[in-house]
């Protein structure tokens, strides 16, 4: 019975709201995942547009949030990529905002966490790496692959270094996607487990009724930590995107 009451995986279930016609043997459907993705897009756009609606010289609360949000990413992109990297600003801003909003929406009770599905995070990560490759090859041609051949390395260990560099480059999308996925998944599972302890102890009655305060406190503290992690992972995703793009723009370093 206990094993059934704490079902930490149930929250990641994808529900179908209505299905779309199959294409190429794959079934497409409008799911809760799709709903929360669109909700995140809507919330981001709404906040930014509503925040700038009044175009006040002295910003109000919403406008301050909008401007802080904008300038935070702008500063980050400018710091890592320099002035020529500002054309990637919309991309980095979209990635950061999408991940951040998806994480924060997922923190609401009963809400679905889009970023806790490996397909979403892996797709975003692979997209970033493909953009890095495309930009690098477009800007530097074959010189881009000097990224894997560091200068000043003795010739007899160069193959090993190059191999390591290639592996490290190929592991980037894996680590980028899995980090976000793992953090979100683990955080939500741990939250669910501690909340489940509360429910179990209260249900058992007696001492457990009062002892439930401990897992409850733990759940509250973990919620705060998860909000921090939700922000931090979005930030890390965005800044690693910047760092990888920097490799594409300046492969010599």
């Amino acid at each position: 019975m206990a094993a059934q009451t704490i079902d930490p995986i149930h929250q990641f279930q994808v529900h179908e709201y209505f299905s779309l016609p199959d294409m190429g043997g794959m079934s497409f459907a409008f799911t809760n995942s799709a709903l929360f993705m669109l909700a995140a897009v809507f919330l981001i756009t709404f906040t930014l547009v509503a925040g700038t609606a009044r175009r006040a010289l002295v910003p109000g609360r919403l406008q301050s949030v909008t401007e802080l949000w904008y300038e935070f990413i702008e500063k980050m992109v400018h710091q890592v990529l320099g002035h020529e990297g500002m054309k990637f600003f919309p991309l980095v801003f979209s990635l950061f905002s999408f991940v951040l909003m998806a994480n924060f929406l997922g923190m609401m009770p009963y809400f679905f966490t889009v970023t806790s599905h490996v397909i979403i995070t892996a797709t975003l990560a692979v997209m970033v790496i493909l953009i890095v490759l495309a930009v690098g090859i477009y800007k530097h041609g074959l010189h881009f692959f000097k990224l894997f051949v560091p200068s000043g390395v003795p010739i007899f260990i160069l193959p090993f270094i190059s191999l390591i560099e290639v592996i490290s480059f190929l592991s980037r999308p894996v680590s980028l996607g899995l980090r976000l996925f793992g953090n979100m998944l683990a955080g939500h599972i741990v939250l669910k487990v501690f909340s489940g302890f509360v429910a179990l102890m209260v249900a058992s009655g007696g001492i457990g009724y009062f002892g439930a305060i401990f897992p409850l406190g733990m759940a509250v503290a973990l919620t705060a930590l998860e909000f921090l992690v939700a922000f931090l992972q979005a930030f890390v995703f965005a800044i690693l995107t910047c760092v990888y793009l920097n490799d594409a723009l300046h492969p010599g370093h």
Binding site: H15, M26, F28, A40, V41, F89, P90, S94, H117, I119
Partner: protein, 184 residues
């Protein structure tokens, strides 16, 4: 016991809805196509909305603020420059007026001094003339008196000699004797 009833209900719905077969939803490949499709739609929409609509708006607001601030600063600087120019102008005028005033005062002083000097010179000249006249008159009277004294002394010498010796002394001798005596 109502608690238990709800949990059984939840698990029941879970089993009913989790019809995909896999126990671990994040790795359930049957949901991948629809998730990918909606991710592409959502992220593409977000990127277009951000790059076309939202970010230019925020940038415009920030740019307007920066422009306004730098404009205000420039206007403040212009106003300050203007004020300083007015102050400099005012000070120049004050200095000029002061110079003019001091010139007028100097002129008046010079005129008065010149007048005083000329008047004083005239009076002094007049006085000097009077003094000179007086001195001339005194000298004349003195010489006249001296001449009178000589003639009186000669006459007196002739008379004294005549009364003492009964002899006669010529006027020339008497005059010679008086002159010697006056000299000695």
């Amino acid at each position: 016991m109502s608690n238990m009833a709800t949990t059984t209900e939840t698990t029941a719905t879970t089993e009913a809805e989790g019809g995909h077969g896999s126990a671990f939803p994040p790795l359930d490949a049957s949901t991948f196509p629809s998730q990918l499709l909606w991710l592409a739609i959502a992220f593409g929409l977000l990127y277009i909305l951000m790059s076309r609509v939202a970010l230019p708006r925020v940038a415009a607001v920030l740019e307007a603020r920066r422009g306004r601030i730098s404009g205000d600063l420039a206007r403040a600087k212009a106003l300050r420059d203007e004020t300083q120019a007015v102050i400099a102008d005012y000070e120049a005028k004050i200095a000029e007026a002061r110079k003019q005033a001091s010139g007028i005062a100097q002129g008046a002083r010079d005129t008065v001094t010149a007048q005083i000097d000329s008047e004083r010179a005239a009076i002094e000249q007049k006085l000097a003339k009077q003094v000179a006249d007086a001195e001339a008159r005194i000298t004349a009277s003195k010489q006249k008196a001296l001449a009178d004294i000589t003639s009186v002394a000669e006459t007196a010498a002739q008379d004294i000699v005549a009364s003492l010796t009964g002899g006669k002394v010529s006027a020339a001798d008497a005059a010679k004797a008086v002159a010697d005596a006056a000299k000695g």
